[in-house]
């Protein structure tokens, strides 16, 4: 009898979890839509930028490359290899199929 009650309780919990999962799915798709509209809204696009100071404040003292590229641009980072002179070489490839890529070198000094 106890096992039967446990089974009934589990069934009720699973249907509650099913409801929660459906709600999360619905909330997530609404939010993705909302974010997409925000990023495409002309009145927002005008203001969706950061300044050099913002970036320098986040990374104090480093050399920074800011890469602005269209959505879909592919960034590729091979595993570093040791060159003949024993030094490790680190590489970044950027490839855009739709529009030119802009790269800005930022250095507080």
């Amino acid at each position: 009898q106890e096992l039967l009650e446990q089974v009934e309780l589990l069934k009720a919990q699973i249907s509650e979890l099913e409801r929660q999962e459906r709600e999360l799915d619905m909330q997530k798709s609404c939010l993705q839509q909302s974010l997409k509209h925000l990023k495409e809204d002309p009145s927002c696009c005008r203001y969706n930028y950061v300044t050099h100071e913002d970036i320098c404040d986040v990374f104090s003292g480093d050399t920074l490359l800011a890469v602005m590229a269209p959505a879909g641009t592919q960034l590729e980072v091979p595993v570093p290899e040791v060159a003949q002179n024993g030094q490790k070489r680190y590489q970044v490839n950027l490839r855009s199929e739709s529009a030119p890529i802009q790269v800005m070198l930022i250095n507080r000094e």
Partner: protein, 33 residues
Amino acid sequence: SCLTPNSAYTYKFSGSPSKELIDINRMIRQGSV
């Protein structure tokens, strides 16, 4: 010349989750896959 591309990590602008950059940064720090 490009390094051996077959062992490259990739990330797509506005398409990949931030986690892929975390994996790339870890790989660069460790210098291996």
